[in-house]
Amino acid sequence: MSEIDEQLDGEADAAPMLLPLDQWHRDRGARMVEFAGYMMPVQYEGIIAEHLWTREHAGLFDVSHMGQLVVSGQGAAEALETLLPGDISALKPGRVRYSLLLAEDGGILDDLMVTNRGDEYYVVVNGATKWDDIGHLREYLPDDVTLNHLDEHALLALQGPEAAKALGALGLKPAFEGMPSLEDLTFMQAGPFMWGERPLGISRTGYTGEDGFEISVRAEDVVALADALTAMGEVMPIGLGARDSLRLEAGLPLYGHDLTPETDPVSADLAFAISKVRREGGGFPGAERILDLLADGPQRLRVGLALEGRMAAREGAKVMSEGGEVGVVTSGGFSPSLQHPIAMAYVDSAHAAPDTQLEVEMRGKLLSARVVPMPFVPHRYHRRGVRP
């Protein structure tokens, strides 16, 4: 056997950092691996069991490795708009938007979530890229805009159809009069809450395709919060392994794999993150190239592939059509919900239409693959006006 060593990503040279919940994970039998410079739980009970539990009940994920940043000061929205293609000025208080940190050439430096907290913008970036992101923001934000790194805060995600019931049982109160209650929050909305005396920043967002929440909590309160949530019968702790298989089924790209500085938002099929007003006005990094790609169509496109058989296509595998190479797999694995392998790949636009038959080369074999729309598993977000 090879590759039993499970290091997934991150810096190999520096000693890994420990998250506030490190011992909590170990006490629950987690297998810990290094990821993005931190020791992280990759699994507890097993990836498939944890994956299916999240789809049926509620899973608690420790994502404290992610960067929690606050951008404030006069002109913060306009300053962010020079770095992102999102319409940040129009983002209302209490609303969350998915956006992209772009390089001068329009390449994707990171994907992130921006929340308008009323008097400041709360930005969550990927763990593996956060130090580079902070450097980039410090370099490009003007002096009267302040960047704070909330490195004394942990971040938990509670995801799944029973997440609202579980979080509701904590008896949270809006932090201020006039702020929404937990029940009032719909997908991509956020608010400040109090759990007794403890402040929590909660958004109805996630990375699984399920209804759920992401909870910013002071590091000193995170053990109590994780204990309180997992004390409920519907909540189990879930590791990074299932986080990856869940987001893959949900069609959500993973930075460093499906998105890189060499990919642009249009080829990545993330054109929805380029707001209409920004398409008209431009003024974001790489705008000229990106607007051209929007007008002319990209040469390559990120698509979903459903594979026949059980052998999984992995990152780096070639995508073939009639003996010619037409693309490359950027992430792939066995789908626990669908019981067959799925993958994301960049393929030439001529081969990107749904139902196009392709092949993936794995270890000298050609696996039959079909282009399918994403998400592979339907999203079940709690949207405005839609009540289950």
Binding site: M1, S2, E3, I4, E6, V42, Q43, G46, I47, I48, A49, H51, G241, D244, S245, G309, R310, M311, A312, R314, G333, F334, P336, P341, R363
Partner: protein, 123 residues
């Protein structure tokens, strides 16, 4: 019958110069949920330490090396539909393939159960 182990976490049971090969219980516990097993072709000739099989878990694919040289005389077809047998019974029903040994002397370089237990305790 004697059971031997490799540092790469394969086991082999040898009976009348035919070895049954699988991955160890330790290996399956490290790999997690196994979703697919690629097996060698019956009749193929393999050399000691060749990669002859692949075990796919949700996370990653891992090569399996044959502990001995010889000819593959059987594979565990039941794994096509039930790869999870490698998780539930790695050192029994989850066996992978059988090799007719061309050089039984190769077994001398492998570990016995006690040595393997000590080896994984040190990992």
């Amino acid at each position: 019958m004697s059971r031997h182990f490799t540092k790469d976490h394969e086991w082999i049971d040898v009976s009348e110069d035919v070895g049954t090969v699988g991955i160890t219980d330790y290996a399956q516990s490290q790999l997690g949920d196994i979703t697919f097993v690629e097996l060698p072709e019956v009749g193929s000739t393999v050399g000691k330490s060749d990669s002859v099989s692949v075990v796919d878990s949700v996370k990653a694919a891992s090569d399996v090396y044959t502990p001995v040289s010889g000819e593959v005389v059987a594979v565990n077809d039941a794994l096509a539909d039930e790869p999870e047998k490698v998780n539930t019974d790695a050192e029994g029903e989850g066996w992978l393939f059988r090799v007719s040994l061309s050089d039984p002397g190769e077994l001398d370089s492998l570990m016995d159960e006690a040595a393997y237990t000590t080896y994984i305790a040190g990992l």
